[in-house]
């Protein structure tokens, strides 16, 4: 992945802006379909964006059928990742345990579980005592019930990027790190991208710039409704493996899991000023809020030390669903953004669906549902199972 002073080649079929998990997953799937005339432009180092900063949770517990089915397929792709891409992503299917405190949360949980079951996902509603049988260290005071799907899990995010990038390059794609796209001209047959390493002419452009995608879209005069939101997370000292599932509280959005390295990886949402800019500073306010919440549900963790905290950008779309496809007035300019806090787990399946779309023009149902124009048409169905 060495960033070189080398400039991108002068022309290509598809230019991908953003070397996060989305851009790289699509590049990998294009390569698998014999499309090699691809250039990926990444402003920072590999994994500089949200894809290098996330919690690695992969789950099928969602409130919309679309997300349940897509994530189920994504998790299948994670299971065969080592064979397909040749790298270990440390998938551990220890389940996701959602805890509800109020009757309102219980009702929401019941509705979601019924839908998940109809989609073939075996989530179960369990009692607080049953939750304690799965995680004996839980303090279940005030917990009304829980939802548990044993097939959800956690992954180690970085190898996805390394594997996708390596395979995409092997099939002919160019990856340019530390290469910023600063302007885009619309030409007669495509686009001219101005980058910090020179100009690149591309027939098609894919905006996979995550939380920075509104700024990239503005380069061709398109206004996107998604907004960046700082999401903070931390990692503790490593412990002997003891925690099986990812645990999450619906009331506060707290989540915690144990990574394959033994660390507790945990996050919670903290309010922030929304001025449209991407903020990545780590705050003490987050540490204290998280510490209070986690030590109240898992008192045993009081003694455990925090090693490091950091932040990453959620790319928040108004209804919690991504924005895909071409805006009506700019054919050839493809959007792949708005993945909020669950883009990592969507990337394996979205890469496959998007590559099919670019290569064969196939229109998976998700392109209709996730079109940009839904926001002006006013036909949105918000996803409820968004944490943080």
């Amino acid at each position: 992945m060495t960033p070189t002073a080398r400039a991108p080649k002068p022309e290509c079929d598809i230019a991908i802006i953003g070397g996060g998990v989305m851009g790289l997953s699509i590049a990998y799937q294009l390569g698998k379909r014999g499309v090699s005339d691809v250039v990926i432009l990444e402003r920072g180092y590999l994994a500089e964006g949200a894809s290098g900063r996330n919690g690695g949770g992969v789950r099928m517990q969602w409130s919309s059928e679309e997300n349940i089915l897509l994530m189920r397929e994504s998790i299948e792709l994670c299971r065969s990742f080592a064979q397909d891409v040749g790298i270990n992503i440390w998938l551990r299917q220890g389940g996701y345990l959602f805890l509800a405190r109020s009757e309102r949360e219980r009702a929401q949980m019941e509705r979601n579980i019924a839908l998940q079951n109809r989609c073939g996902v075996p989530t179960e509603m369990i009692s607080a005592d049953e939750a304690r049988a799965i995680v004996p260290e839980l303090n279940t005071t005030g917990i009304a019930c829980a939802a548990y799907n044993p097939h959800d899990g956690v992954v180690f995010p970085w190898p996805f990027l390394w594997g996708y990038a390596r395979e995409a390059m092997r099939s002919g794609a160019e990856l340019h790190l530390f290469t910023d796209v600063t302007a885009i001209d619309q030409a007669s047959s495509g686009f001219v991208l101005h980058t910090s390493k020179g100009k690149l002419r591309a027939k098609r452009v894919l905006n996979a710039a995550g939380a920075w995608s509104p700024a990239v879209a503005r380069l061709v005069g398109v206004e996107l409704p998604n907004r960046p939101h700082r999401h903070e997370i931390l990692s503790t000292e490593p412990l002997k493996p003891f925690l099986k599932p990812m645990v999450s509280l619906l009331s506060s959005g707290l989540y915690f899991s144990q990574s394959m390295r033994g660390e507790i990886v945990t996050g919670i949402s903290v309010d922030d000023v929304d001025d449209g800019s991407v903020k990545l500073g780590a705050r003490l306010q987050f540490l204290t809020k998280l510490a209070r919440e986690i030590t109240s549900v898992m008192p045993r963790l009081s003694e455990v030390k925090v090693l490091r905290q950091w932040a990453g950008p959620y790319d928040v779309s108004p209804d919690g669903h991504p924005i895909l496809g071409e805006p009506e007035n700019i054919p050839g300019f493809y959007l792949c953004c708005g993945f909020v806090g669950h883009g990592f787990m969507m990337a394996p399946i979205i890469g496959q669906i998007y590559a099919e779309h670019l290569v064969r023009g196939t229109n998976h149902e998700v392109f209709r549902r996730c079109r940009l124009s839904r926001f002006v048409e006013g036909v949105t169905e918000p996803e409820q199972m968004i944490l943080g």
């Binding site: 992945m1 490091r308 950091w310």
Partner: protein
């Protein structure tokens, strides 16, 4: 002979050379690929050595990784205000 660069995570000089040869050339990438600097000292001991190794081919690549708070490990109970 083995030369340990990161004592918290047991990362050797050879591990780093191997990582650079695989194309992970910046300190941030070396950190993620090897785990260097992710232990209790958070790179206070090893980061400079890693940066020097990365900078051998291009000074830009030796840019240090972002230091993460807290400065030293702190127990969650202390942060929660349960004890001092």
């Amino acid at each position: 002979m083995k030369t340990i660069v990161c004592r918290c995570e047991d990362v050797t000089l050879e591990d780093i050379r191997h990582t650079l040869a695989a194309g992970y050339a910046t300190v941030e990438e070396v950190k993620r690929y090897t785990g260097l600097g992710t232990g209790p000292c958070q790179g206070k001991e090893c980061m400079l050595h890693a940066a020097r190794l990365c900078a051998e081919s291009d000074p830009f690549l030796g840019t240090p990784f972002t230091a993460r708070p807290p400065l030293a490990p702190i127990a969650l109970g202390v942060l929660a205000g349960e004890k001092d």
